[in-house]
Structure formats: C-alpha cells, structure tokens
C-alpha cells in the first residue's frame, strides 16, 4: 500500500484525490489546504484526513510514501523541496516550477537525497495523443513536416486568481502551452528555435483573457504552430500532423462520444448541454497509477523531471520571444524520456 499526502484541494487537487481514492494499492492518507473548508470537504469525500498545514500533517501521519504537490505554480518549488525532506517520493503537478532555475534546484535537491521526483505532464497519458504518437512512429504519414496544435478555453478560475498573476503562474504560455511543448518534444524530438506572440498584458488583465501563438522549429526541421487560448469558451484541444505521406487530425471539439441535453421544461429557458468523453480510466488516473507503480517497483516514469524542466525551457524561450520580438535559440542535448 502506497500512502499519499496530497497538498492542495483546488481543481487539480480534487482530480488527483478522486484518482487516488479509486486506485487499488493506494491510500490517500491526508489532504492539506490552508483553506480549511476546501480541505475538509475533499477529505470527507475521499475518506482522507484533513489538515491545514504540511507540518501538522507530517506530525500526525506516519509512513507517508509520497507527497503530491497540487499547489499554484509559484509554490511548487518551496513545497516540493520541503516534501523531499520528509518522504522518498514527490509528485509535482506541471509546470514543475515557475522557472528552469527553480526546476533545476528541485531536481538537484531530490537527486541528492535519493528522492524520486515525478511531474504531472498528463497529456502523455491522453489516449488520443498516444494514438497519434504511435501512428507517427509507425510511419503511416511518412516523415512529419508541419504540426499544428490548439489548446484552451475560458480563463481559469482559481484561488486568489493566481492564474491572472503572471509572476505566480507564468501565464498561458507556461501553464497551458507547456502541455504541447512537452508532448511535441516527446513525439518529435528537440526544439531548435522558438518564435512567439501573445496579446498585450494590459489587454489580457483588463479583459481577463489571454492568447498566444507560437512557432517552433525542431532540430529535425519539423515546423510546429501552437495556439494557446484563454479567450474562448468551453475547453477544447486539437492537433494535426501533416507528413510527406499523410495527415492525422484530432479536434476534441468535433467529437461527440456523449452529449446530454436535458429537456427544456419552461419556454425560453435554454438547456445546458453537457458533453462527455467517458473512459473507464481518465488520463489523470492513468498518470497517477503509473507513478504509483513506479514507486512500488522502483522503475522510471515515462515522463521525467528533466522532461518537465525542458518543457519549461521552451516556455521560457517563447516568453522571451514575445518580449523581444525575436526568435530564441534553444541549446539542449538532453535525452527525451
């Protein structure tokens, strides 16, 4: 039995708590949140103990195997480093950190203590994205040439609007496009050059939206164009890979495995459509199941903390390009998990 302590009872914390609750061989021992009500509510729903500080939780709980950090991005480093002093396994939600420097510090800190550090790049566990990767690797579309991705929806609502504070969240490029940076790097190799544009901070803050378009040039020559949006309504994600001998296309907005539309009983009242793409196990659950199995077996995860750092490197380059108006070169020779 792997005993987990979860830090953060926000949106991602709730998703992780439900996943742990449903996974065999895992015990969600405690949930920590400074918002006492949120911690209590999620703890009650998942049968865990509720705490309002990491210290109290560690004082009261024994034999915790892993601490899962589902806190706002700017708190990742502080709490992952603290966690690494208390347990042998640290799971950290993406982005691994607010900057590459912070990520490097966390990785080194964990390595020195022999602590395993996992990063929650959940797109690696999305079946549609894995299927695309398999089809590319099988050579069904020849050599990939131009890739286009899109991701986003409405501006995320969260505690103290921390997403709206660039210093805390890194904005849309670090928070949202990071998913695609990591997936594209895992599928198509290292990035050589980055060029990016995003809407002005003033407009973004005033309108509570954000929007960025990024062009990546890979070492292989491949071109990629990424759209990140918090200016639309309703989440969707999509990817198209055009190769020398074919095209693969996926757009979550265009698939309808299930859509429930309640009958409108009063004239003039609109029924709210609830679309779903149900699976036996969702990608977040698959991700945590994989991490738990790595903890049990001592094996390496399919996505490493180094991968988490390299994704931040691309995001940082994109952000820098937005600021300078110039392309930014990347110099990395790391292996990709």
């Amino acid at each position: 039995m792997v005993r987990v302590l979860l830090l953060g009872a926000g949106t991602m914390g709730s998703v992780h708590a439900e996943a742990y609750h449903s996974l065999p061989g895992v015990e969600l021992a405690g949930i920590v949140d400074i918002r006492e009500e949120a911690a209590d509510k999620l703890a009650e729903a998942t049968g865990a103990a509720s705490f309002h500080s990491l210290e109290t939780a560690m004082d009261e709980l024994n034999d915790i195997d892993a601490i899962d950090v589902c806190l706002p991005t700017y708190l990742h480093k502080e709490y992952a480093m603290k966690a690494a002093e208390k347990v042998e396994n640290v799971i950290c939600e993406k982005p691994l950190a607010r900057s590459t420097e912070e990520a490097r510090e966390m990785i080194d800190h964990c390595k020195k203590r022999g602590v395993k550090l996992f990063v929650g790049h959940v797109v690696r566990f999305f079946q549609e994205y894995n299927r695309i990767k398999e089809i590319v690797k099988a050579g069904k579309i020849g050599k990939p040439a131009v890739v286009r991705t899109t991701r986003g929806g409405a501006f995320p609502k969260a505690w103290q609007n921390w997403y709206g504070d660039f210093e805390k969240s890194g904005g849309l490029i670090l928070d949202l496009l990071l998913h695609d940076f990591d997936y594209l790097r895992a599928t198509f190799g290292e990035v050589e050059r980055v060029f990016a544009k995003k809407i002005k901070r003033k407009d973004a803050d005033q309108l509570i939206i954000d929007y960025a378009l990024v062009t990546l040039r890979f070492k292989s020559g491949l071109l990629a164009h990424l759209e990140g949006t918090w200016a639309h309504q309703g989440f969707s994600s999509g990817i198209e890979v055009a190769g020398t001998e074919g095209i693969i296309n996926y757009d979550s907005a265009k698939i309808t495995p299930l859509k429930h539309t309640p009958r409108v009983k009063e004239a003039g009242a609109g029924g709210v459509e609830v679309p779903e793409s149900p699976l036996v196990s969702n990608p977040y659950r698959d991700e945590l199941k994989h991490f738990i199995s790595c903890i049990k077996n001592g094996s390496d995860p399919i996505v490493s903390a180094e991968d988490g750092l390299h994704a931040i490197e691309i995001a940082t380059a994109a952000q820098l390009s937005c600021e300078s108006g110039k392309p930014v070169m990347l110099n990395t020779t790391a292996d990709i998990s």
Partner: protein
Amino acid sequence: MKIGIISFAHGHAYSYANAIQNQEGLELAGVFDEDVTRGKAAAEKYQTTFFDNYQDLLGTAIEAVIITSENVKHREHVTAAAEAKKSILCEKPIATTIEDAEKIISSCRDNDVFLQIAFPVRYSTPVKRAKELIDNEELGRILAVKGTNRGTNPGGWFIDKDLSGGGAVMDHTVHVVDLLRWFMDAEVTDVYAEYDNLISEQTIDDCGILTMNFENDVFATLDCSWSRNDAYPTWGDVTLEIIGTEGTLTVNAFDQKVDVYSDKDGVSWEFWGDDMDEGLIVDFTEAVKSGRQPAITGEDGLRALEVALSAYRSGEKKQSVTNR
C-alpha cells in the same frame, strides 16, 4: 462585354472562363496561351477563338482581359494590355518582384486603364459576412488572428522558382494578407517566417508559418503550407480565427460541404457554398461597366506581395524583418 483570357497556366483561368459563360452579357471572345495545345483545348472547350499571339488578341474588340499567366509573366502581359487600353483583371500574386508590381501599376495608371487584382477569397460569402461583423464592431477591437491557407502542391510551373517567384510562401501568403488588410485597414509592419522544403521531393519551399505584426498592434500567424496530401478529402482551405476584445470569430471559407464516401473516388468533401470566383468576375465586370474604382487595386496586390517577399527575407536572415 467581350473578354479575353491571356494564358491558362493558372488553373483559376478555367473557373473564370466558366463564370464568364454563366453570366448573361459576358462573352469569352478569345484566348491566348503560349502553350498552344493547352490554349487550343481551352478555346475549344469554351467555344471561342484561339490566338497564338497575345498582341493579336489585344488588337480585337475585347473590352477587358484576364491575365492568368505564370507569375513572372504578369508584367509583360499587363503592360501590353494596358497599352492596348484594355481593362485588366490580373491573377495573384500581382508579380514576383516589387519592381515588376510597380511597373504593372504605373503602366495601368499611365494608360488610364482599370486594373484589379484577383483575390477571390474576398468574394467568399462567409468571408464577406465576417467583414460585415468586424465593420459592425461585433468583435470590438481585434487583438490577434490565426490564419491558414493550406493546399495541395500544385506542381508544374508553380514549383519552378524562375516562373513562380517562389513556392508555398509566394502562392499562399497573399490571400490571407489581403483579407487581413481589408478587414483591418492596416498594413503589416514586421514579418517572421519559418519555411522549408519538407514535403515534396522538388526543391521549393512547400511549407511555412508566418508571423506578422500590423500597424494597429494586431499580430497574426499564417500557415501557407502545401501540406494537403492526395488522400485528404479536399484541396486545401482558408481559415481565420479572430480574437477580439468583445469575442472571437471563426471563419472557414470552404466549410460549406458534404462528405462523400465513394468506392470509386475515396473520401471527398464536396463544396456547395457560393462560388467566389464567379463573385469576383461579376464584380470586376460590373466595375468596368459602371466606371467605378476596382474593389481590389494594384496597390493591394503590391502590399500583399511585399509581405511574401519579406517572409523570404526573414527566412534567409532567420530574424524578424521590417516589412515597411
């Protein structure tokens, strides 16, 4: 109105010829083509006269001429038509160099003849509706645009730089640039481009992503790649995702389609929307008849070409370049 066509090198010549035939009061009075076989076949198809010399065609009583020759030949054909005092519809891109484009514009001005550049997408009904929504300020202030104008590698002279002036970037930059200039009444200030020869075996740029800044602070990207393969259900697309302060607008000029699954022909998307090429021909001929100014001027053609050429400069320097 009697109309001539100079060259069937560009495939649009056929849809313009069809549009002429579909309109009452328009007559395709003669065609010229350097490729005699192609020209004679077209003359037969449209029941008109073939000329083996464009000066002979320009010497007839035609009022207007459509120039659909290879890009590098536009200058020669337009200047000859201008000197013959014909009203001119010139296929995009206007030319392959700024110098040629300026010569085209000045020769039409000096001869006081009507010159319109063929940007048919302005006549797509969904695109026209988008322009209307933008003009009515339904989007508020525009912040950013994501555009695509992808297609199938056209082959032939399109992939011979000496005749086309360039590949996908030259072929597919100008349409979307023209739409954005039209929508926003703003010029492109900076261009960054990543393009390459990644898809076809012939040495020509066949894929590219442009990023443009406009003088109204809007940024836009454009995928101009010839990335649609044989098995894809259609030839290509024109799409725009427009982000405004008051909302977003998604435009897909060719999305009015039915899906066909044929044992004989495979999967295809059959378009049923309004014919934009016909819209272009109707507007061109009506403008000539009524003596009104062209909806799309030589200057519009020049501005769009300028951006394509800036994209090539950016690619060579691997830097963002100043467009104007």
